[in-house]
Amino acid sequence: MRRLREDLKELDWHVLLLAYLLVGFGILFIHSATQAGSEFAGQAERQAFFLLPATLAAAFFLLVPYTRFEKYAFYVYGACLLLLLLLPVAGVSLNNARRWLSLGGLLFQPSEFMKLGLIFALARWFRPRSAPDHWQGLIAPGLITLVPMVLIVKEPDLSSALVLVPVLFGVCYTAGARGRWLLLVLLAGAILFGILYATGSLKSYQVDRIQAWWRQTDMPKEMRLGAGYHLRQSLIAIGSGGIRGEGYMRGLQNVYDFLPYRSTDFIFSVIAEETGFIGSVFFLFLYGLFVFLVFGIAARTRERFGRLLAVGTALLFATELFVHVAVCSGVMPPTGLTLPFISYGRSSLLTHFAALGLVLNVGMRRVRVLTPDAF
């Protein structure tokens, strides 16, 4: 207990406070985003209420020394994989996707837990191994990532699956893989995508979305009402915000119900519309600072498992932040991805608080190692 108290003295309170600040920010804007539609009413309250179990999950991952998780890392990964495998059999279908499992009436999303499971598995995989000095060393971690990715894509939830790629690359890179290999893999992925697009192997709605993204300022009317609707409404919301924004709960795109999925996939558009350029850049600064501090924990950690956990977590937050804001602002083609801590979603909140607890755990327990990296 005394040890724990000593460890807690090392706790990075800045990160914790920033995380709660972001969640508070999120609840405020979920409230704003759900004021008009009765079908989404109560989401802010439910998010606030679910903060308690999320905090408990964070506390669990904070208080148990993270080195103990090393032994169970693959089990966690395996359990998440099992949940994903259950989806086609016992999953609940909503909005043409089978992403949820029901537990006592509560729906949760296994793909969210898989994000944490993958970080565990990758860190565990690299922990006892020396830096991969050949590209073949990337095959096993690649497979570890590919299996859940395929299952998630089948849900279908392409964006959640794609988020796993930067986590894989970041962990591999930090574990010692050479940057040029990763770049080559990225290049190969881009070429593959180009071939898929050119040969018409992508699904029609995906092609439509890409075309809408490409023509975002001169969409024809059918596109505005069809595949490009989400993107256009989001751009209108962000652009309408101007420098100072339209005011909290006064965003017309939000209040008039034009912006779709505004408490989840497009919550940044609500923030940008209501707080303007100043508010949205301040928000990016806060979130960036949070991720920056998590990266700092990774940089400070000498123990290899803990460092990889921290890097994976930081990359998870960073990727989700980037993709979410990029989609909302039209930098990337539209794909549905929530913003951790901000968007409404119980599984997401739980997972990301667990990740937060884990990374704080790594940060406060500076395990002294004589051979900090692999032997």
Binding site: T174, G239, A314
Partner: protein
């Protein structure tokens, strides 16, 4: 090693920062540099402008009685998304639609159709009269369907029967995957989707089914469970159907939805229906709820027939409100691309009586919206519209709706050849088309409505507001109130109009066609204009179609020239003002005026014939000897006036005619059954005064003066001739006025009164003289003096004539002028026996008597 890892973490962090900067830059671009553009796009998203209907001004007769006016009406619009989701009938229909087989004709009819087409092709290739051709023709005639396909009306009871099958169908599709089109067809209960659909169609349908069906079923079954106490069998059947297909999760979802609905205390639309029997349905229909089934069996094809005869993949809905029908159609293939939340106009300008249930019970009529509107109403007297021809039409059609309403265009296009199998089919389609068209028409821009449009139309109001995505009004910015049009009082007198029309109807004419005009001599005010056949609403339909066609041609022709405001089709009917006819002997009055002006109105010798150099000549029944103008008018001596015409010559005759409003024309004349017309603008005094929509009277250049003098080679309407006689009565050529005031008080004729009296004496002798051509009619005691005319259109025993009578009254101080023209009377009838009795019939009526006795005031 640790330093290497730290370096890599820092590099990753740097890349992250770089990405953040990109995002910040993008935000700067959108929110600062492009803010105005996106703000405006957001504004366009929200802003809506709706017109507010304006009441057009009324047209009043000279005593202030309304002849045409606007009354409040309503438009009905349909939002299909709301209809299919919230309206029980819409739900049932949409479900049915999704699983309907290809809505083509039944296979046997199609086979027969194809065989007939082949036979026709072969027949056309054979020479007429050949034996083989006859044989094929007989074979073709034998290929008929004795009984038309049975109508299969689709109603709520049928929908209820279908639902368990539909549930099974959905379960077979499975909510998780887009079904294989082949499998979807195979798994259908009862093979409802036949194997004739193309792969594309199957896919399209399966996709829509996929996206809609589960939602429907969850709601529907949840409500079914709510009523399980009354309809246990229903819920159980549905449950079994789902469990058999392994759709337990769907059933759980249904139960959950049911519980949620019960907690909220909601009772959905289906809940109100599932436990109902036929008698309740009847009650529902009586309340005015929409139905897909016509009330009468002989209206056999409201849905099924139209669905079948239409092209493939088309949704058609026929709605019933009270005893009226409305049709709405949408291409199935376009359904996904179109916005389902847009408002489609279903009806226009219907009275409140028909839409009151939508207004009073909006929950029972989800998907329907009622919008304020106006409609034009014309005074109806004993089933006809007095002076309907004068008013003209059309606004709705000219505004671009003709494509939708014209029965010749797409949606009621008959399938070629179908009418041969189905004799009553074409009539049925036409009847329906007329009925639908009659609801949306607006009278207006042609005729007098067109001439007075600037005063009558007023200014439409508008509302500018912001609406949310669901088109709910959130913020009103501005409302421009409508400015009603001004009422216009015209010179027409309703009583006189009715009396003149009645006179035409009572006069036992040998033909069913006539035209008449009544003028006030001093002012030129048009008091009545009548035409046989009397105008009913059906006649106006014809005019409407014709004008629509003309207007379309005008627009397609590059909008050259004046927009057609006159209905040429009315040339046949509106004889008081369209289609100049030969005035015959009534024109002799003009010749007499010219002779007096030239000082040549002396005594001439009538030998019974005035030969022409090219053969033939002008004839009189007998030689009248030496006669003067009065006697020549009494006996209508052709030789006298022919000689007078030769003495005067064309220039003097044309000059005199020009003084009375006639113009000399060298244009292309259009001969229609003996009378001709020149296309030209409405005729009248011009200037600021509204013109009377009427063909101008003309003198054909180049005709022989002797013929001109007796009214051949002249074109005039009864209105024009009434004006000539009005000038004779007062010595002033009055302007024609349809609106009181405006214009001058008339131009002096320039002929001494004594000489005019001589002509009037001749006119008196026509009705009272021993040899007067109208002496037997009895117009003398009524104080009428006038002139008959009977120009021959075709010669011989079977020839046809025009019969005219133009006169002025009362004799002591002529104040009114009347002209009657009856075209195409058989040989043996003449102006005195046909046209003059119309005048008598008019004057014997109370309104006419009032004119004679001077009790009828002026304006």
């Amino acid at each position: 090693m640790f330093e290497e890892a730290r370096r890599k973490v820092r590099i990753t962090r740097g890349i992250f920062l770089l990405f953040l900067l990109v995002l910040a830059g993008r935000l700067f671009w959108l929110q600062v540099l492009e803010h105005d553009y996106w703000y405006f796009q957001g504004f366009l998203n929200r802003e809506r402008i709706l017109p507010r209907p304006v009441k057009r001004g009324s047209i009043l007769d000279r005593k202030g009685r309304r002849l045409a006016w606007d009354e409040a009406a309503h438009d009905v619009e349909l939002v299909y998304r709301d209809f299919r989701r919230g309206n029980p009938l819409g739900q049932a229909y949409h479900l049915k639609l999704l699983t309907l087989p290809d809505p083509r004709l039944p296979r046997d009819v199609m086979d027969l159709y194809e065989r007939r087409m082949r036979l026709r092709g072969r027949i056309r290739a054979l020479p007429p009269g050949s034996e083989e051709r006859k044989g094929l023709q007989e074979e073709l005639d034998s290929l008929k369907i004795a009984e038309p396909p049975d109508p299969r009306p689709y109603n709520l009871l049928e929908a209820r029967r279908d639902l368990s099958g539909l549930a099974e169908f959905v379960a077979s599709l499975g909510p998780e995957d887009l079904p294989d089109p082949e499998a979807a067809g195979r798994d259908l209960p009862g093979g409802e989707i036949e194997g004739e659909l193309s792969r594309e169609d199957r896919k399209a349908r399966a996709r829509i089914v996929r996206s809609n069906m589960e939602w429907y079923l969850r709601r529907l079954l949840g409500e079914a469970l709510e009523l399980a106490g009354r309809s246990k069998g229903w819920a159980a059947a549905l449950r079994k159907a789902l469990e058999r297909k392994g759709r337990g999760s769907l059933f759980r979802g249904i139960r959950k939805e049911f519980r949620a609905a019960r907690e909220r205390g909601e009772r959905g639309s289906f809940a109100a229906l599932l436990g109902l029997g036929p008698e309740n349905l009847e009650a529902l229909l009586e309340r005015g709820a929409a139905a897909l089934v016509p009330p009468r069996r002989r209206d056999r094809d409201p849905l099924e027939l139209l669905d079948r005869i239409h092209k493939r993949n088309t949704c058609l809905l026929l709605f019933q409100f009270g005893n009226r029908w409305a049709l709405w159609d949408r291409r199935f293939r376009d359904a996904q691309r179109l916005r389902e939340d847009r408002r489609d106009p279903l009806w226009r300008a219907v009275p409140f009586e028909l839409v009151k249930w939508v207004e009073l019970r909006p929950r029972a009529h989800r998907g329907f919206f009622v919008v304020d509107s106006v409609r034009r109403v014309y005074r109806d007297v004993e089933g006809r519209l007095p002076a309907a021809r004068l008013f003209g039409r059309v606004t709705g059609v000219l505004a671009g709706d003709e494509e939708r309403l014209d029965p010749d265009t797409t949606w009621l296009q008959p399938l070629p050849g179908l009418e041969e199998y189905w004799p009553e089919y074409e009539e049925s389609v036409e009847r329906r088309a007329r009925r639908l068209a009659s609801r949306v028409r607006r009278f207006g821009r042609g005729g007098l409505e067109g001439e007075l449009d600037s005063r009558l139309r007023g200014k439409e109001g508008w509302t500018f507001f912001e609406a949310d995505r669901r088109a709910r009004r959130r913020l009103s910015h501005y409302q421009g109130p409508p400015r009603p049009g001004k009422d216009v009082r015209i010179t027409l007198d309703l009583e006189l109009q009715c009396a003149l029309e009645k006179a035409l109807a009572l006069a036992r004419l040998p033909v069913k066609a006539a035209g008449a005009a009544l003028l006030e001599c001093r002012t030129g005010a048009i008091l009545a204009l009548a035409s046989l056949p009397l105008a009913g609403r059906e006649d106006l339909e014809e005019g409407w179609k014709e004008l629509a066609r003309l207007d379309r041609a005008w627009r397609e022709g590059g909008r050259k020239g004046r927009r057609p405001v006159v209905l040429p089709i009315l040339q046949d009917w509106s004889r008081f003002r369209y289609g100049s006819s030969m005035p015959g002997s009534t024109f002799k009055v003009v010749t007499a005026l010219a002779a007096f002006r030239a000082g040549k109105a002396g005594v001439l010798d009538c030998e019974g014939i005035l030969p022409f150099p090219w053969g033939g000549g002008l004839h009189c029944p007998r030689a009248h000897g030496r006669i003067g103008v009065e006697r020549a008018l009494e006996v209508s001596c052709n030789v006298y006036f022919g000689k007078l015409g030769r003495i005067l010559g064309n220039p003097l005759l044309e000059k005199e005619a020009a003084g009375l409003g006639f113009s000399t024309v060298k244009g292309r004349k259009v001969v229609i059954q003996g009378w001709w017309t020149w296309a030209g603008p409405p005729w009248g005094p011009g200037g600021r005064a509204p013109r009377v929509p009427c063909d101008p009277p003309v003198v054909e250049a180049g005709a022989a003066p002797a013929l001109h003098a007796v009214g051949y080679g002249i074109g005039a309407t009864p209105l024009a001739m009434a004006r000539v006689f009005a000038a004779l009565a007062t010595g002033l050529v009055p302007p024609l006025r349809i609106v009181p005031g405006g214009g001058g008080g008339g131009r002096p004729l320039g002929i001494p009164r004594e000489e005019l009296e001589k002509i009037r004496e001749g006119l008196r002798l026509v009705v009272e003289g021993p040899e007067g051509t109208a002496r037997r009619v009895g117009l003398g005691p009524l104080g009428v003096e006038g002139k008959t005319g009977t120009p021959q259109l075709t010669r011989g025993r079977r020839g046809r004539n025009l019969a005219w009578f133009c006169g002025i009254f009362p004799r002591s101080r002529p104040a009114y002028s009347i002209a009657v023209m009856v075209p195409g009377v058989p040989h043996g009838f003449h102006g005195g026996s046909v046209a003059a009795p119309v005048v008598r019939a008019f004057l014997e009526q109370p309104a006419g008597r009032a004119l004679i006795e001077g009790r009828e005031g002026g304006r």
